[in-house]
């Protein structure tokens, strides 16, 4: 790597893309570039980044977990129900995060111990967790639990649970200096995940498994344990995303985040991760999440309907992957050609 090698990195290109995007949107609509508003608008979409950061670690291993979008809602409703049932808010948070962690670990256990495609497993669990989230209030009623302030839980099936304490909602609506809390949480998680991936044995194991799971096993990498751990981390991240969103909306709902799947996967792929595993960057995911999020905010500020956003996001996803495929094919062709010319030249030299 040369001194300026990082200039060619995907992360740097994303950073450039982000700056260009903000500049263009700002030129069209100068009001958009109000730093305070810009920062605050991140709260609308950072849950996508948090979930995508967790998913990046899984995609590193060549796996996938689409059940995270359901875990967001599950964590949210569990927090709300625990709170309504009378638990102190810190305990409710702990329970919600714990459920996310355990659910993720369960996903990982099934993935690690069967040869069933992770997409199918987590598809089944996506349904299961989202069903659990919507069904939980009635289950509590059936089991005879009593809500703290009378009445059954059933009311919370489709209604949000409001009245969460300030100490909790501060994480969604408060700010640290100029930076809103959701963004702070996101940055902290991104830093932790990035550190895990780049500077720990665990991160290296993820990469080894993603490049060649069999070779990783022959090398002595604890493949199953690593997989279970990484799926658990993803479940935890999804739960955090759900809680951040809950705090931001100051209302716990079972269907929070259910629309986010496309955005999450796009952020991961646009961030430079290969769906085949072994290649990925948490920082890339974070930046790609910002690019996508500000794009949406920018379009809205221009008065363009949000309906166009999925069209653009989908197009970006396809375009990014297509461009990368094309580039690598071209590179390989060139390298082979060069190798042929060298060998042929060498042989001709011997022949003479």
């Amino acid at each position: 790597m040369t001194r300026f090698g990082w200039l060619k990195s995907w992360e740097f290109m994303l950073l450039v893309a982000l700056v260009v995007e903000l500049a263009v949107l700002g030129m069209i609509n100068p009001a958009f570039l109000n730093v305070q508003n810009l920062l605050f608008s991140t709260s609308d979409f950072v849950h996508v980044i948090i979930a995508a950061v967790g998913l990046t670690l899984i995609i590193m291993t060549g796996g996938i977990d689409i059940s995270g979008v359901s875990l967001m809602g599950l964590a949210s409703i569990i927090l709300g129900l625990s709170f309504v049932a009378g638990a102190p808010i810190w305990l409710a948070v702990a329970v919600a995060l714990g459920v996310g962690l355990l659910a993720g670990a369960f996903n990982g256990t099934v993935v690690a111990n069967t040869d069933v495609n992770p997409l199918v497993i987590t598809l089944a669990l996506l349904f299961f967790y989202s069903g659990l989230a919507t069904g939980l209030p009635t289950l509590l009623d059936m089991l005879g639990f009593k809500a703290y302030n009378a009445g059954g839980f059933e009311a919370y099936q489709y209604e949000g649970i409001n009245g969460l304490p300030k100490s909790f909602t501060w994480f969604g609506t408060g700010r640290l200096g100029w930076v809103p809390m959701p963004l702070v949480v996101t940055i902290v998680l991104t830093l932790i995940a990035g550190w895990l991936l780049k500077h720990t044995r665990f991160g290296r194991f993820l990469q080894l498994i993603g490049v060649n799971p069999e070779a990783a096993r022959y090398t002595g990498v604890p493949v199953k344990r690593t997989l279970i751990t990484v799926y658990a981390i993803n479940g935890f991240a999804a739960a955090v995303a759900g809680l951040v969103l809950t705090a931001y909306f100051t209302s716990a709902r079972s269907d929070l985040g259910s629309e986010a799947l496309l955005n999450i996967i796009t952020a991961v792929v646009l961030g430079g991760s290969s769906i085949y595993g072994g290649e990925g960057s948490v920082l890339g995911t974070f930046l790609a999440g910002l690019v996508l999020g500000f794009l949406r905010q920018g379009l809205l500020s221009l008065g363009i309907t949000s309906d166009v956003v999925p069209v653009i996001v989908g197009g970006l996803l396809i375009g990014t992957v297509a461009a990368r495929i094309g580039m690598s094919a071209l590179q390989r062709k060139r390298a082979n050609r060069a190798a042929y010319e060298t060998e042929r030249g060498a042989m001709a030299a011997i022949g003479e």
Binding site: Q207, N212, A215, Y218
Partner: protein
């Protein structure tokens, strides 16, 4: 044998001719400007060690690969075979080593899938051709129920249904019984009698001498021998296939320098699993134990059971004096036993990672190890790059861009990094060139000089003879030791081939 009648075709023009073909994969040159002919009514045998480029030639002729440079002529005209279906259109069909049978489709569907035209005509044609080549099976049975021999006949029938003038048979006899091989030979004679040209690939030299009209031997992407079969002997073929610098007198050079410490580094007692039975042997520090055996004899399964990949084996394994009842790759490496797997790409190397990361992976996988900083990683890699003479531009170079030999050295470096006292090498020189092979042998000598116990598993007799102090023969899951005076190519080959013949019967 109808040798004389086939001689009549020799003068005829080739059906398929390769002219100056080059092929480069992932920056690795596999074929270096080869010329090759297949003539009507002739069986042309193609010989060569693993990785010599045989399968690449086959894939180029059958349209699966495109040459990097060079021409393919079909009946005198230059053609581009961009897809297998184009090769079929020119009358070229390949019967692959492992027949492509679709297990969920019926036998009849297996025969007719991929052909256009009127269904009933095609089905009728399929039945006729099946009868012609002696394929007698229930046409409505699932493809998955066919025996290997019948699967091969299905493939040949597929070729004939496409009116093939050239049939490529890629190791057709490797998994056939003796009787099935004979009936295949009869089929081949019948086909050449109809003027079909056959490209025949086999490891079994006696078959090649028996069936072919003409032999080409490939080594490192170039032909080293092209001659009519008449006048050739097994000895000539073996010599042509041996590495250029193979010197029988230097074979046992290593044996003289046994180190002082000769304690047992590996003891295997009464080890049994599904694939082998009651295996016992031991390895001393500084000694090379060769295990010779054919594919499927249980040798790789034995290594994987010792290394803890297969956990179902019963029996005792003692590594460096300590019993190891529970084994996993990690535990074994911690007890300082390492393993270089047979299939380098599937089990050994991380192709898309920088070499330094592959080399450090084994050390990092040990329990209680620490993450290595890029600087530490680089230092470790540099150490092995020098020690094993690995050719690369930087430790950050991806393994996929290296030659087979250098890739194997990267795997060796990874395996040696945790400093094993006993190491099992499974087919350590498969698919690598002659110079890299000598490097691997040198590395083995250096290891034994340093007091490491080495087990070399190989199906190449010359390799076993060259490196081993003691030789064990693996046959049908049972292990036996060669007497000390018989550790040379001829005796080991005789033992191994004799045993192979027995399997065929």
């Amino acid at each position: 044998m109808a040798q004389a009648s086939k001689q009549g075709h020799r003068a005829s023009d080739p059906l398929v001719a390769l002219r100056g073909i080059w092929k480069v994969f992932e920056s690795v040159t596999v074929l270096r400007g080869i010329d090759f002919d297949i003539r009507p009514g002739e069986v042309h045998a193609l010989l060569g060690g693993n990785g010599s480029g045989k399968s690449t030639i086959v894939k180029i002729i059958s349209g699966a690969y495109q040459p990097t440079a060079g021409l393919i002529e079909v009946e005198g005209k230059a053609q581009i075979l961009a897809r297998p279906s184009q090769a079929h259109a020119h009358g070229i069909y390949m019967v692959p080593q492992e027949p492509h049978i679709f297990p969920n489709l019926s036998v009849l569907e297996n025969l007719t899938t991929g052909l256009d035209g009127d269904s009933s005509t095609i089905r009728q044609h399929a039945r006729e051709i099946a009868a012609e080549i002696g394929l007698k099976v229930d046409f409505n049975a699932h493809g998955g129920t066919l025996s290997i021999a019948n699967q091969q006949l299905v493939e040949i029938a597929r070729g004939l249904m496409r009116n093939a003038k050239v049939l490529i048979l890629d190791e057709p006899t490797s998994s056939l019984t003796h009787h099935e091989v004979e009936s295949l030979a009869t089929q081949i004679r019948a086909l050449t009698g109809r003027g079909i040209g056959i490209l025949f690939i086999s490891h079994r030299l006696d078959e090649v001498l028996d069936i072919s009209d003409c032999v080409s031997v490939l080594r490192d992407g170039q032909f080293v021998l092209v001659a009519p079969t008449e006048g050739l002997t097994t000895e000539i073929l073996v010599e042509a296939m041996l590495p250029e610098d193979f010197d029988a007198s230097a074979e046992r050079e290593a044996a003289g320098t046994m180190p002082d410490d000769t304690s047992l580094v590996l003891e295997v007692r009464n080890l049994s699993s599904q694939s082998f039975h009651d295996v016992s042997f031991s390895v001393r520090a500084g000694e090379v134990v060769g295990i010779s055996g054919v594919v499927g004899s249980g040798r790789t399964e034995l290594a994987e059971a010792i290394y803890g990949i297969d956990k179902s084996a019963t029996g005792e394994v003692v590594i460096n004096g300590k019993a190891a009842p529970q084994r996993s790759p990690r535990i074994c490496q911690e007890m300082r036993l390492s393993y270089v797997p047979e299939d380098r790409h599937a089990h050994g190397i991380f192709l898309s990672l920088p070499c330094a990361q592959t080399i450090s992976s084994s050390v990092m996988a040990l329990s209680g190890a620490h993450f290595m900083s890029p600087a530490q990683e680089n230092k470790l890699a540099q150490q092995f790059i020098q020690q094993l003479r690995i050719k690369l531009s930087s430790p950050m170079q991806e393994a996929r861009t290296l030659s087979g030999g250098n890739q194997q050295k990267i795997v060796l470096a990874k395996t040696l990094a945790p400093e094993p006292r006993v190491i099992i090498l499974d087919e350590p020189t498969r698919g690598i060139d002659a110079r890299a092979r000598q490097d691997v042998y040198r590395i083995i000598r250096e290891l034994t000089a340093a007091g490491v116990g080495v087990v070399v598993i190989s199906s190449e007799v010359s390799e076993i003879a060259e490196v081993s102090d003691r030789v064990l023969i693996m046959h049908r899951g049972r292990l036996s030791e060669m007497p000390e005076g018989q550790i040379d190519v001829d005796h080991i080959a005789a033992a191994t081939l004799a045993e192979t013949d027995e399997v065929s019967k």
